[in-house]
């Protein structure tokens, strides 16, 4: 399908500039705008209701105002009939009765009462814990990967793979920050899945590089790595394409709640595919990988060890 021998690594300076640009932009956006954190992290009350007809948002706002929820945000959710009401966490009103009060307020004096679709109340404390747990999970997975890849391949590869996935995670977060998309628990799950996916891609490429280093006698490191990237290119594109197909279906048909999840994964898959070619391998090259690093060590003393 694809005519091979593309000089990927020859353009690594260009890729470096491109990646750095994206990273800087992401970090700047994260620093300035931050993430639009969902209720899972901020705490607060979220009420989703459904109406038989298109909802009158201004009337809803008025009745919430009257009930004392002045800072509530009211917006349509997916369709004109579905409404999402968000109330900021209030330290004086930590009680979960808040959600009941909200529902009572909007159903007071209304001919077409709202059908409750979901209510979420999360205390601010829980949000902090979640962010902490999520961060820890991220850290531990990175650590686990470092060890596993260093053991199966070589430490230069483990640094390369971690560089690639940190790259992917920061840029995905950057996109969410730049476009002010809501970052909730499902998106966090998606980010963690991006790690899995990006890693999967990177490992496949590394596997081929290792194989070629051991097999090919001619060529320098750059040529061998280029050849490996070319050999795995078909697979990289095929897999990304099929995964993207499923994710597209999920993003557009999976419903509003899962939409951001699918979007995060989609962004991650695109960036992950790019990084497995243009970030993971150049890092290993920059660290000065050589054939000697990947030679299968001669097993001295094996005979003795295996004696019972």
């Amino acid at each position: 399908m694809f005519k091979q021998e593309i000089d990927f690594l020859g353009k690594r300076k260009l890729a470096l500039i491109f990646s750095s640009l994206l990273l800087v932009m992401s970090i700047v956006s994260l620093a300035l705008n931050g993430l639009k954190l969902g209720i899972d992290f901020t705490g607060g009350t979220l009420v989703e209701v459904g109406y038989d007809q298109a909802a009158d948002l201004s009337a809803l706002r008025a009745s919430l105002d009257e009930a004392g929820f002045a800072d509530a945000t009211v917006q349509n959710f997916g369709t004109a009939k579905d409404v999402l009401i968000r109330i900021k966490p209030d330290e004086n009103l930590s009680s979960s009765e808040l959600s009941t009060q909200v529902l009572e307020a909007i159903n007071k004096n209304v001919a077409d009462p709202a059908e409750l679709r979901r209510v979420e109340f999360v205390g601010p404390q829980v949000g902090d814990d979640l962010a902490e747990d999520g961060g820890l999970a991220l850290l531990y997975s990175v650590f686990g990967i470092l060890i596993y890849v260093a053991w199966r391949f070589e430490y230069k590869f483990s640094l390369g793979s971690v560089a690639a996935l940190v790259h992917d995670v920061i840029i995905t977060l950057g996109v969410f920050s730049a476009f002010a998309m809501e970052f909730d628990l499902t998106v966090l799950a998606a980010i963690l899945a991006v790690i899995g996916y990006s890693l999967n891609d990177t490992i496949v490429v590394y596997d081929r590089i290792r194989e070629n280093f051991r097999k090919l006698r001619k060529g320098d490191s750059e040529q061998i790595m280029n050849a490996s990237l070319n050999q795995t290119l078909n697979r990289t594109l095929m897999t990304s394409l099929t995964t993207a197909l499923v994710l597209l279906a999920l993003a557009f048909l999976g419903g509003e709640i899962i939409h951001n999840f699918a979007l995060a994964l989609l962004i991650g898959v695109v960036i992950g595919t790019y990084s497995s070619i243009y970030v993971a391998s150049p890092v290993v090259l920059a660290l000065g990988i050589s054939k000697d690093d990947l030679m299968i060590p001669e097993k001295e003393g094996v005979d003795i060890d295996e004696m019972p």
Binding site: V122, A193, G196, N234, R235, T243, I258, L265
Partner: protein, 615 residues
Amino acid sequence: MQNRFPIWKNTLILIVLLIGIIYALPNLFGNDPSVQLSSSTVTPLEQTQANEVEASIKSAGLAVKSFEFADGRILARFKNTDDQLKAADMLRDKMGNDVTVALNLAPATPAWLSALGAEPMYLGLDLRGGVHFLLEVDMKAAIKQAEERYNNDIRSALRAAKVRYRSVSNEEGAIKVVLRNADDKLAALDLMAKDFRNLDVVESEEGFEFNATIGENELREIKKFALAQNITTLRNRVNEIGVAEPVIQQQGDNRIVVQLPGVQDTTRAKEILGTTATLEYRLVDVEHDVAKAVQGRVPVGSRLYYEKNGNPILLKRRVIVTGDQIVDASSGLDQNGSAAVFITLNGVGAKKMGKMTQANIGKPMAVVFIEYKTETRVVNGEKVRHKVKEEKVISVATIRDAFSKRFQTTGLDSTQEARTLALLLRAGALAAPVDIVEERTVGPSLGQDNIDKGMMSVVVGLLLVLVFMGVYYKVFGLVANVALAFNLVAIVALLSLLQATLTLPGIAGIVLTVGMAVDANVLIFERIKEEIRVGNTPQSSIYTGYEKAFVTILDANITTLLVALVLFGFGTGPIKGFAVTLSIGILTSMFTAIMGTRMLINWLYGNRRVEKLSI
């Protein structure tokens, strides 16, 4: 180079396939709307009651699908939710308070499948609707209670040892004991070392005083106990609401998850979870006539109570001990081999109990169970909430001899009754207050919506992949598609077998696994193509392709599995749901994409002359 699996390998794959299909099958049958009746008292339901229920459902003309009675519980399945709701309302009125009537969705799994242990997947609340509460136990309050208890115990121990003290007070995490002179201090310290080993004693330089603090181990025990007791209490209360399949689980060191599928009325649920209950021990008034009291002439110093069976009984107004003085309770057999409950009181309670029983040997004593409930009633069109106190005499027993700290309550009808009483004594009240820190409710319509949309997106995504693979890899692509379809069956089978909970992010996890499964096949097929390109024969290309791709697939999947396991270990809620399906999916996809496709390819091309591969 034959490309042939040995018979045992083919058989193994086919057996796994068969098992997969069997355990995935129950999910096709769906659920029956049903009503479940169980006893809310000690005695299980009986066959006569079951017959009665069956008859009344039939006479009401409701379309009952089947009727089951087992283990003292009745399950009536209905053809539609209308009849289910009607039946539940009718039975609630008819059966009274001693029978809990719960709405349920009973799996419609055929008997032969159930016999094999095959049940459908358990759907998370985001898919079936219901309430989820995350409760946090107020550990500070639990520790404070423990300090109060120790304070009392130290006082009575000092008094018992005739050591005079100036004061025993609770101060910022320590119990401060002030004595009169050096001798008393020595005696007190002796006592502390002997009887209060759980406390760390720090002597103060000035004056005759010392501080006692609860030690690390004891603190841990207190927290553990508070959590465990609260879980037991909550479980009892949730059973009261009549929710089928509730989840009550510990999360972390001080949190409890309560999930009530199908419950929409969060106000009612909150009321019940927040209910407090306690116990009182009172002497029975035997001098006066109960019958006169029932008519309204209650003697001074006594009160009229009712027993479980509805019989009136007169009890003394003065309380001997209350439930918060009970430290522990367990059930067992007394020296005569009849059922008994063993109770441990704290210092104050023990002293009071000792005095009262000493003076009343041979007289009956009663245990009163008191519950404070918050009820919402509609008065003049407005909802009014008020506390209701419910009192019930749960046991009456004769005092055989004086007892103090530890004693037993006998005269119970059965060991089961003893167990229940012990449970009530332990779990009647929450050990420490709880706060609701998280509450999520998903309406039934949204739950159904989530399932429909989730399934729809998975099916469409899958179809796109199937078409794509078939067009691009031709025969090999079709083989991969068969494996992919079986991969889904295997995931569903494993989820059902493990009774893992399927959530919305879980569905997303399945989608990602589809990607992983495709990836494995793409890796293999691209290798085979490469081999053909360099001029190898079809047979050897297949062989080498699988050989070489295997290492790559293994490395890639193990790293992803590593991530999934970390997510499972650290994540909660949706992240955990995602991690479960992802880990299961990775394992099944490795099996189906490597072994499954290989078997099919071998059947198609192996062991014969092949000129060209359709790839």
